[in-house]
């Protein structure tokens, strides 16, 4: 049995319409998502994220390459029965109430009526809509998003595709969703998450891919993305000429820049850093802290998409 939930090989998608310019939405995208992990897909608007998700759900046909979900083609309805999806823009018809909406979504995935009778109240409880008696048309954006999450889970899927799941939710709602995602991973489900909220992706994902202009720009774990830059931030109690001279004497060709009482220093190696610290203690000056400087996922992402790849 394969340990891969999703496998994408050299996937490409070109949109062409009569009398319109041909648009290449994806080119040569390859990625693998392990079972039971949370996979984050990030990229600018128009980077091809939604196109990729649509192809993984059999909604769009690839122009080149292949995609497999749980070892089968996503065009096969039996594969899609094992998958849940929350689209970015969801339109809920006015006439539904939460329960009959979930019932219909479940029926489309072949879920047995008796199973649904048991599962729907649990799901509504899980997404915080158990007490809602309103028709769907009276739902706020946040409530609709919660209902969207419930419908994605109604068939007890092995793989979940979530396109901006926290869109429209308040900070508390976003935390609920994050907790839910972690809980779903604990249950062994695979989650394919597409979000613009990079801080959230960083918090929950096991692996992240940055999509830029239709191709994979970088793929790594959040730790790899946000690992040290080689730069250190050294805070001292006070800076005077003696301290500046001590630093200048040790720094040599290495970058060293003062920002009030903090020194941004990129040592050549660890011994170089230690010699600087020894020299500072010898001045003497009180060293308050020494921290390696890390990039946030957002900083890393911005550098990648602006072409200043770290």
């Amino acid at each position: 049995m394969t340990s891969l939930a999703i496998e994408v090989l050299d996937l490409g998608k070109t949109y062409s319409a009569f009398r319109e310019k041909t648009v290449s939405a994806l080119q040569g995208v390859s990625l693998r998502v392990e079972l039971g992990t949370i996979f984050g897909l990030i990229g600018q608007n128009g980077a091809g994220k939604t196109t990729l998700i649509k192809m993984l759900l059999g909604l769009a046909t690839p122009t080149s390459g292949a995609a497999r979900v749980l070892g089968s083609s996503p065009r096969d309805p039996s594969t899609r029965r094992r998958v849940g999806y929350l689209p970015e823009q969801m339109r809920l018809p006015d006439y539904f109430q939460a329960k009959n909406f979930l019932r219909y979504m479940g029926r489309l995935n072949g879920v047995d009526r008796t199973v649904m009778k048991r599962r729907i109240p649990v799901l509504l409880e899980r997404v915080g809509l158990a007490d809602s008696r309103k028709p769907v048309k009276a739902y706020s954006k946040g409530m609709q998003q919660r209902l969207g999450l419930a419908q994605a889970l109604v068939s007890d899927p092995e793989v979940l595709f979530l396109d901006e799941p926290t869109d429209g939710l308040d900070p508390l709602g976003r935390k609920d969703v994050r907790d839910l995602l972690v809980q779903l991973r604990t249950e062994g489900r695979t989650i394919f998450l597409n979000s613009h909220l990079l801080s959230e992706v960083e918090l929950v994902c096991d692996r992240i891919v940055i999509l830029n202009n239709g191709s994979v720009a970088r793929a790594a774990t959040p730790q790899e993305f946000t690992c040290g830059t080689g730069e250190y931030l050294i805070r001292v109690a006070a800076v005077d000429d003696a301290v500046r001279a001590a630093v200048a004497g040790v720094a040599g060709d290495a970058a060293a820049e003062w920002e009030q009482n903090a020194l941004r220093f990129t040592p050549l190696d660890r011994a170089h850093l230690n010699s600087l610290l020894d020299r500072l203690r010898g001045v003497p000056v009180e060293i308050e802290s020494v921290e390696p400087v890390k990039l946030s996922l957002e900083e890393f992402f911005l550098q990648v998409v602006s072409g200043q790849e770290p």
Binding site: L59, R80, V83, L108
Partner: protein
């Protein structure tokens, strides 16, 4: 498919157009029942009168009355019902909804066919609400069987199926509800003229080539007006001499619907 079918019926009942049309159907049913009077003579024979017209023996008047009902409203229902049924098809392909339903474990064709069948049911129900009460009343009060109206309902639904298949095909480019309604209405308007092409188009076009094209258009397109004539023959108790409108309309519907479902299955959203 059955889940989608039931959901589509539920959806159609929440749409104003369908509710208005059902209201109109009920009004028509009431109107027919009000204007038709059945009188029983001392010898037990029954006489039928429509409004202020002199009464006629039921054996003659009942088929004549059914024909009038069919001529007055039967075909018009097709046009009106398109306004209620076409949105069921276009709503399936609305952004935000299609991603939800087509990403589920049911084939696209099955979902769309469920919607299509719900559209047909909607038409049949409207037709039944408008026509069947008076037919049943006449049967009950005169003893003259009016079951032919049931067959007429099936034949008319068959004609509507062809129009709805055209609307379904035109739904695929996802350009809203207007285009499918216009396409189906155009076919509905064109078919009587094509059926009488010798009196209509042939008078305008003398070219053999153009007449040939018109002739082929007649052969290919559904024959709604001839299906109505067939219904009338049926309720009048006359022999149906040609089943050509039925099977050619059936072939058209199957081909157009098959093409629609096949294109939908291959469509990239």
């Amino acid at each position: 498919m059955f889940a989608t079918y039931l959901n589509s019926l539920h959806e159609s009942m929440s749409r104003r157009v369908a509710l208005v049309l059902f209201g109109v159907a009920i009004l028509i049913a009431i109107m027919f029942n009000v204007v038709v009077h059945v009188r029983t003579l001392p010898d037990g024979a029954t006489m039928l009168a429509v409004g202020a017209q002199p009464p006629a023996p039921s054996a003659i008047a009942v088929p004549s009355m059914l024909e009038s009902i069919l001529r007055a409203t039967g075909s018009l229902w097709m046009l009106l019902a398109i306004f209620a049924a076409a949105p069921l098809l276009t709503a399936t392909l609305e952004k935000g909804w299609l991603e939800l339903v087509f990403s589920k474990g049911t084939a696209r064709w099955s979902i769309f066919l469920g919607r299509y069948l719900a559209g047909l049911t909607l038409y049949s129900l409207m037709f039944a609400v408008a026509m069947l009460p008076v037919a049943l009343r006449l049967w009950w009060m005169t003893g003259i069987g009016t079951w032919q109206m049931g067959v007429a309902l099936l034949i008319q639904t068959f004609g509507f199926a062809a129009l709805l298949a055209v609307a379904a095909l035109v739904t695929l480019p996802q350009k809203g509800v207007a285009l499918p309604v216009i396409a189906a209405a155009a076919i509905w308007l064109l078919t009587p003229s094509l059926a009488m092409r010798q009196e209509t188009f042939y008078r305008i076009f003398s070219s053999h080539f153009v007449r040939g094209i018109i002739d082929w258009a007649y052969r290919i397109l559904p024959k709604c007006s001839e299906l109505e004539d067939l219904c009338v023959s049926f309720v009048q108790g006359r022999t149906v001499t040609s089943w050509w409108p039925v099977w050619s309309t059936g072939a058209f519907t199957l081909i157009v619907l098959g093409l629609t479902l096949s294109l939908l299955n291959r469509k990239s959203f």
